[in-house]
C-alpha cells in the first residue's frame, strides 16, 4: 500500500484529513440530494397507486368509460409495441453496430453515418411521431396500427441500440481479433465466435434501455398506433392499440370524473415495467463484469 506523507501544515485549525472528511461529506450530501426527487416520485406513486393494484385491475377490461375496471388492453398493447419494436430494431441495430465497429473504414461516408445516428438520438420524440404518421401511416398505408407504431418506435430506438452495440464491440480488445484471424478464422467467424459473445452483455443492456425508453414514450405512438379506447384486445398488427403511456395521458386529461386511484395505479404499472427492465439491464451488466476475463 502506498503511504502518503503526513500533512505538514494545517489551515483554519484543522488537519488535511479533517478537511478531506468535510469535503467528502459535502459531496455525499449533494449526491443524496440528486437522488431524493427520484425516490420521492417512486414512493409517492407507490403510496397513491399501490392500494389500487389488484389481479382484477391488471387482467380486466376498462369499464364505465375507463373510470373503473382494469387496464388489460393498455398492458397488452404495450407488450405488443415492445415486441414489435424489438423485432425491427434489434436485428437492424446490431447489424449496423457490427458494421460500424468492425467493417467500416474511417471515411466521410461513415463519419456522416455516425453524425446522423447521434443526431437521430437527439430528435424530439414528437417529431418521430409526425415522421411515422407521414411515412408509415399515410405513405405506406399501414394506418393507425401496432405495425406503424412499432416501426416508429424502432426508428427512435435504433440510435441507442446501434451506438451501444458499437461501443460494446469496441471495448473487446483488438488483440482477440488478431488472434482469431491468425488461426485461420475469417473476420466474420472471429466476430461471431469470439467478439460478439464478449460484447453481448453490453449489447443486451443497450437493447433493454432502448426498448424501455420506447415503451415509456407517448408522442411517437400518439399519431401512429395508439387509440383512446378499445373494447377488445387488438387481434392483428394492423389494429390500433391502447398503450400504458397514452392511456395515462388520456385518463389524466380527457376523462372527466376520473378516480385518482386508477390514474396512480396505471402510472405505477408503467413505472414498475420500466424500472424492472432497468434492473434487468443492471443485473446483466454486473454479472458480465464479474465473469469477464480481460
Amino acid at each position: 500500500m502506498r503511504r502518503y506523507p503526513e500533512p505538514k501544515e494545517s489551515r483554519f485549525g484543522i488537519t488535511r484529513q479533517q478537511s478531506q472528511k468535510i469535503g467528502f461529506s459535502f459531496i455525499r450530501l449533494i449526491s443524496l440530494i440528486t437522488v431524493l426527487p427520484i425516490l420521492g416520485i417512486i414512493v409517492y406513486i407507490i403510496v397513491k397507486g399501490g392500494s389500487h393494484i389488484s389481479w382484477e385491475f391488471l387482467t380486466s377490461m376498462p369499464s364505465d368509460g375507463m373510470r373503473a375496471g382494469g387496464i388489460l388492453p393498455a398492458i397488452v398493447g404495450t407488450f405488443y409495441l415492445m415486441a414489435g419494436t424489438a423485432l425491427f430494431s434489434i436485428p437492424l441495430g446490431i447489424a449496423a453496430g457490427i458494421y460500424l465497429s468492425e467493417y467500416a473504414q474511417d471515411s466521410y461516408w461513415t463519419r456522416f453515418i455516425r453524425v446522423a445516428i447521434i443526431s437521430l438520438g437527439g430528435v424530439p420524440s414528437v417529431v418521430y411521431g409526425l415522421f411515422g404518421l407521414g411515412l408509415f401511416v399515410l405513405f405506406c398505408n399501414f394506418g393507425i396500427s401496432i405495425l406503424s407504431a412499432s416501426l416508429t418506435l424502432s426508428i427512435m430506438t435504433l440510435p441507442v441500440i446501434i451506438s451501444t452495440t458499437e461501443e460494446a464491440l469496441r471495448s473487446v480488445p483488438y488483440r482477440f481479433r488478431v488472434v482469431g484471424v491468425s488461426l485461420g478464422g475469417t473476420q466474420w467467424q472471429t466476430i461471431t465466435r469470439v467478439i460478439l459473445p464478449q460484447a453481448l452483455p453490453g449489447i443486451l443492456t443497450g437493447i433493454i434501455l432502448g426498448l424501455e425508453r420506447a415503451v415509456g414514450e407517448t408522442a411517437p405512438i400518439l399519431f401512429t398506433g395508439a387509440t383512446f379506447y378499445l373494447p377488445h384486445l387488438p387481434s392483428s398488427p394492423l389494429d390500433a392499440t391502447m398503450a400504458l403511456p397514452y392511456h395515462i395521458y388520456v385518463i389524466s386529461t380527457q376523462v372527466p370524473g376520473m378516480s385518482s386511484g386508477v390514474q396512480y395505479g396505471t402510472v405505477l404499472v408503467l413505472m414498475v415495467f420500466v424500472l424492472g427492465m432497468n434492473l434487468i439491464a443492471s443485473l446483466i451488466r454486473s454479472r458480465a463484469r464479474a465473469k469477464r476475463q480481460w
Partner: protein, 253 residues
C-alpha cells in the same frame, strides 16, 4: 542444400506513418531448422513475421513490394487465400493471448473455423496438440475452464497448442517467452528443439542469449535491413559484418 521452405526476395515495407520497416530484405528460410531473426527493436523482425502469414493485412501499409514464396505459393499475391495461408503458417505472439473461451475451445477454434464439426475428431486433435505442446498433463482435467484461469506460462503453451492443432508447416514465434519466467521459457525452448524436425521455425528471440542458444541459422536485422545471415554458430562466435560484431558484443542495442 535442401530446397528453402520460404524464399524472400527484396521485401520492402513501408507503413502509413512513413516508417520503413523492411528495406529490401532477401532471405531463405530452411525447413527443419530454427531460424532466429534478431537485432535491436525497430529492426523489422516483427514486421517480417507479420508479412509471412499476411497478418500485415490488418495494419495500415503504404507500400509493400518484393516477393515471398512458399513452394509454389506466392504469399504476397493479391489472390492468395490468406485464410488457408494462415493455417499453413501459424504464429505465436509475444504475450500469451488466450481467446476469452475455454481451454478446449482455444485449441479447437482454428479447427472449427476450418470446418471440422465431428466432436470426436475435434477432441482427438485437441488432445494431440496439447500433448505436443507439453501441456496436456497439467490441464487435462479442466479443459472446460476459462483459458485465462491457467498460469501465464501455461497460457503461452496453450497458444502454441492451438497453432499446432492446425498442423502447420511453418511456426512463427515473435518473442514468445518475453512475458514468461525462466522455467516456462525453458519448456518452450525444449519444445522448439524437438519440434524442428517436423516444422520450419522462425523465432524472434527476446534476448541474445536465447538467440545464441536456439539458432541453427541466424539473421541479424538492423533498421529494416538484413545485415548478416549465416549459421548460428558463426553468427555469435565470428560475425563478419562490423555492425553485427558490435551488436553481438553488446556495444549497442
Amino acid at each position: 542444400m535442401t530446397e528453402p521452405k520460404i524464399q524472400i526476395r527484396d521485401l520492402y515495407l513501408r507503413y502509413s506513418d512513413g516508417k520503413e520497416a523492411l528495406k529490401g530484405v532477401s532471405l531463405d528460410i530452411q525447413p527443419n531448422l530454427i531460424t532466429v531473426a534478431f537485432g535491436p527493436s525497430g529492426g523489422g523482425k516483427s514486421s517480417l513475421v507479420k508479412v509471412l502469414n499476411r497478418l500485415i493485412d490488418l495494419s495500415d501499409v503504404d507500400e509493400m513490394r518484393g516477393e515471398v514464396r512458399m513452394g509454389d505459393l506466392n504469399i504476397l499475391g493479391k489472390d492468395t487465400d490468406v485464410v488457408e495461408l494462415r493455417r499453413r503458417i501459424g504464429v505465436v505472439f509475444s504475450r500469451p493471448i488466450p481467446l476469452p473461451l475455454t481451454i478446449f475451445e482455444n485449441v479447437s477454434f482454428g479447427l472449427e473455423v476450418a470446418g471440422m464439426r465431428d466432436k470426436k475428431k475435434l477432441s482427438e486433435r485437441v488432445e494431440q496438440a496439447l500433448r505436443e505442446a507439453v501441456l496436456w498433463d497439467e490441464i487435462y482435467d479442466r479443459l472446460d475452464d476459462p483459458a485465462a484461469s491457467i498460469s501465464g506460462g501455461q497460457q503461452q503453451r496453450l497458444c502454441l497448442a492451438r497453432v499446432l492443432a492446425l498442423k502447420p508447416e511453418v511456426i512463427l514465434l515473435d518473442e514468445p517467452t518475453s512475458a514468461l519466467d525462466p522455467v516456462s521459457t525453458a519448456k518452450i525452448e525444449e519444445f522448439l528443439e524437438t519440434a524442428k524436425k517436423d516444422y520450419t521455425i522462425l523465432l524472434v528471440p527476446h534476448n541474445q542469449q536465447q538467440a545464441a542458444r536456439m539458432a541453427d541459422k541466424a539473421a541479424f536485422f538492423l533498421q529494416g535491413e538484413l545485415v548478416e545471415y549465416t549459421d548460428g554458430e558463426s553468427m555469435f562466435i565470428n560475425p563478419r559484418d562490423k555492425r553485427t560484431q558490435e551488436y553481438v558484443q553488446g556495444r549497442f542495442g
